[in-house]
Amino acid sequence: MHATEQYISSPEEMEAFGKTLAKTLTPGSIAYLRGDLGTGKTTLARGVIRALGYTGSISSPTYTIINSYDTSPPLHHLDLYRLHNEEDYFQSGLGDTNVNASIWLIEWPDKAIDALPKPTINIQLRIEKEKHHIKVTPAYADRY
């Protein structure tokens, strides 16, 4: 699998993109979501969570840091925005979260990158001329 790139022009399209992305995620998948404020990370995450069949409300984990969904497989939606470093990650108790058999979506991974499990997929979002540009890179592709 190679890196793919795409342009998105509405929140609906972003959510739909998340739903498509969900098909490539399996238990143990760890997705890092990078991009500035307002580029659509949480909207993309919502698409993934909806695709797993969750019908309840899905809100931003910025304040809560982690929102866990009892889907099949279980999904953890993390946002490290409010963290400063790896110490904060462990202080928050996030180090106790079970990685196995679940899907992780992690926004702002660079805030505590050394504390995190390694990604299986990297997603980069940015706004470019009114549109949202998404680049999806399987993690192993970074190394080869």
Binding site: T39, S60, S68, L83, Q91, S92, I127
Partner: protein, 339 residues
């Protein structure tokens, strides 16, 4: 009934005492604590497990300073959820352990219910039923409150909380995070009509809200702005959009349940524009608007102590010694107090 309240659901470590006989409340929040105090040290911006080192000495200091002996307490109320699980665990463990050691009952309280009932700490309390708008960094919801434990969710944010939108927009405009209050202050000096931002979901026939798209609009506008533009205008226009949505959705909620009483709580209720416009808009329609004191709007233990006191007075207590905090806990799962 003298109840000790403990709040550790997220960043704040707070303890309080509520006396139901005199309706008096007294509280201590860690951010007010002098860092040279015996239990002090540097307060990190993200508390979480740091509650561990702070909470027990805080309770000891708080009680001894007021000459309150544990034997005078009738119960301990702690925040059981929703919140950050590691943070909740600290308050739940210590609260229940102290109660066991002191031979008094403990009760786990719902954080949002406590916010809803914070207004009851005021001297004059609104009568039930009322509609509550709770707007903070972590929550944005509209609830029909018929009585204690009788809650009907009318609407909530589908993405970012209103306070979160303020904090993130502040960051986009170059203010440090969390810059919500600084952004609001800047907005007071700007022209709210300088830029037009769409009011997300304002005309949807529901009470649900959405603030995430507004952030994207700001990011795009800011990126194309000439360098000498007035940031205050941008801030004011953003604030106007958020406040318009909050007022429109509150109005819809009040109509939906045919209520004439609105309670606004949460950190965003400190917003001056929201306060001003609420008073003028709702007064016109004969609606009473109540804002609790700011100290009871942001996360605090006074509201936890009060909520615990109300439920314990009805005979509700934790039935065993198990520690069961809940990271997710829908408000509508609550019931009227039962013994």
């Amino acid at each position: 009934m003298l109840i000790l309240g403990i709040e550790t659901s997220c960043d704040e470590t707070a303890v309080a005492l509520y006396d139901s006989a005199s309706h008096q409340v007294d509280q201590l929040v860690h951010t007010q604590v002098d860092i040279h105090a015996p239990y002090g040290g540097v307060v990190p911006e993200l508390a979480s497990r740091d509650h561990v080192t702070r909470l027990a000495p805080m309770i000891e200091h708080f009680l001894s300073e007021r000459f309150i002996k544990p034997s005078e307490l009738d119960g301990i109320a702690y925040t059981r959820g929703p919140g950050l699980i590691g943070a909740l665990m600290v308050g739940a463990c210590l609260g229940k352990s102290l109660a066991y050691g002191w031979g008094i009952p403990a009760l786990g309280v719902h954080h949002i219910e406590a916010h809803l009932l914070a207004v009851m700490l005021e001297e004059t309390q609104p009568d039930f039923p009322f509609v509550a708008l709770i707007v903070s960094g972590g929550h944005s919801l509209l609830v029909h409150v018929k009585g204690v434990g009788e809650y009907h969710l009318l609407g909530e944010t589908l993405d970012d909380a209103a306070g979160e939108a303020f904090d993130k927009t502040a960051k986009l405009l170059g203010l440090s995070y969390p810059g919500g209050p600084a952004l609001a202050a800047l907005a007071e000096q700007g022209d709210p009509k300088a830029y037009h931002f769409t009011r997300p979901m304002m005309h949807h026939p529901t009470c649900d809200m959405s603030f995430s798209g507004l952030k994207t609009q700001i990011a795009k506008t800011y990126a194309e702005l000439p360098e000498d533009s007035c940031m205050a205008d941008l801030a004011a226009s953003f604030q106007a959009a958020v406040v318009d949505v909050l007022i429109a959705k509150s109005t819809r909620a009040l109509k939906q349940v045919n209520s004439k009483r609105l309670v606004v709580a949460g950190g965003v209720s400190a917003n001056q524009r929201l306060r001003r416009l609420s008073q003028t808009t709702f007064k016109k329609h004969g609606i009473d608007v109540v804002f609790p004191k700011l100290a009871y709007c942001t996360d605090n233990a006074a509201m936890v102590a009060y909520t615990g006191a109300v439920r314990m007075a009805a005979g509700e207590f934790d039935s065993d010694l198990s520690i069961q905090p809940k990271a997710r806990w829908p408000l509508v799962d609550l019931r009227k107090p039962t013994s």
